[in-house]
Amino acid sequence: MTGTDDAERMVEALLFAAAEPLSAADLADRLPADADIPAALEALAVRYQGRGVELVQVGDRWRFQTAPDLAHLMTREREEPRRLSRAAQETLAIIAYHQPVTRAEIEAVRGVQSSAGTLDVLLELDLVRMRGRRRTPGRPVTWGTTDAFLVHYGLASLSDLPGVAEMKAAGLLSLDLPPGFAVPDPSAASPEEDPLDADEAHDFHQDFLGDGERSD
């Protein structure tokens, strides 16, 4: 005589070890003839309710699967280091120090036109964002850095960006600097800017990535 508990153990083991979901008929093939399979499945479903693993019916077959709310555990994240191009690196630095800054201004500092892809790359890496629109003719979009930028460079806030003194200390500034060379303080408020509409920011982002190197 196969008790319900015995049958339950057998069904549990079979469903666990099976490569595919099993039907009641599959189970009946392998269990003793007197085993009450529906009762065993019922008992198992109750036993696993709310656990990390659940018994589910797919079609007329049964399988164990991990609880849906734990699906996030089944992913493994992998980080791939990515070197920023020189152009992207420079563009990011200029945005960081001069924000809010328009594309034309970035180009003016760099002395070259930016390729369309440069800002795309920084946007995709979530290092820069659109901040608003300058109150000048054409109302150009202004750019700034993101919180992810601060996290990536280990900065508590924009006011922690190294200034001229630190650049000199790091040996980055030569002695024959132009008079009046100054590094702006990006944490200062900039009044002459309108916020982007929520929709606008979204649409623009979409469009912007659209011309660029959307990776699909």
Partner: protein, 265 residues
């Protein structure tokens, strides 16, 4: 070996034969060497193998070898070497002990203990192998998950670079700025006159509603942008609509503009 005395006799059977009253009617093929044979004989003594009677074991072994040779089994040399060594060991065990033991020879008791130890060790390993075989073995007795969940890998691209690199990237273009003048490239535009001429040339073909983007000239490399071609063509089109040569319509904001030549009476 010659024709086996008891064909198909395996090791277990050989052991049993040895155990059963030291019959010694045993196929030599059943053993893996003299040590194996010694173990089978030792088991027949049914004592703790470390407390084996070595003299008795020696007698059993020598009897086995004698019997095997009488039955004209060809005995491998190592069985005979072992027999000679055992005979020597037995004689030393039985002889009265010299008053001063010779230093270059180990005491016969120590040799006997070592032999017993080797036999006991082989026995222990035999049992260990059996015990391992009896354990619940993966995919024979116990089974892992048959259908493991695939782990999906999410890849993040993390930019490299530190604060010093950021500062350097800032200083570089600023320092470059001293001896160069920034001249943005003026945007090339598709001239309105050319657009009008182009559109007028297309006019005879426009007897159906045709999309503006299809009418505008194709972009050429190094030429004006596509947007400029479309914009200038649209301006030209609006002029021609005003002059009554074209009709234009658009069904919704931002949707395609369609053009058609006005039907001439």
């Amino acid at each position: 070996m010659n024709a086996p005395f008891q064909p198909g006799l395996d090791f277990e059977a050989a052991t049993t034969a040895a155990v059963d009253g030291e019959a010694l009617i045993i196929d030599i093929d059943g053993f893996e060497g003299p040590l194996d044979l010694l173990l089978a004989l030792a088991r027949s003594q049914k004592v703790d193998l470390l407390k084996l009677s070595v003299t008795r074991l020696v007698d059993q072994y020598l009897a086995f070898v004698r019997e095997a040779r009488r039955k004209r089994f060809a005995l491998a040399a190592d069985y005979l070497v072992m027999a000679a060594w055992l005979a020597f060991l037995k004689s030393r065990l039985l002889l009265p002990k010299p008053e001063r033991p010779r230093e270059d020879e180990p005491a016969p008791e120590a040799l006997a203990a070592q032999l017993a130890f080797r036999i006991a060790k082989l026995d222990a390993m035999r049992r260990a192998a059996e015990a391992l075989k009896a354990r619940p073995i993966l995919k024979r007795d116990v089974f892992p998950r048959g259908d493991p969940d695939a782990i999906s890998v999410i890849s993040h691209r993390r930019p490299t670079g530190d604060l010093r690199a950021l500062m350097a990237a800032y200083v570089e273009p600023r320092a470059r700025g001293q001896d160069r003048v920034y001249r943005p490239r003026p945007m090339a535009a598709f001239p309105l006159e050319e657009a009008r001429a182009h559109l007028r040339a297309q006019l005879p073909g426009l007897d159906h509603w045709t999309a503006l983007t299809g009418v505008a000239p194709k972009q050429r490399p190094d030429g004006p942008s596509r947007a400029s071609y479309v914009a200038s063509t649209l301006s030209a089109c609006l002029e021609m609509v005003r002059e009554g040569e074209l009709e234009a319509r658009q069904l919704a904001p931002f949707s395609e503009v369609y053009l058609r030549a006005t039907a001439r009476p």
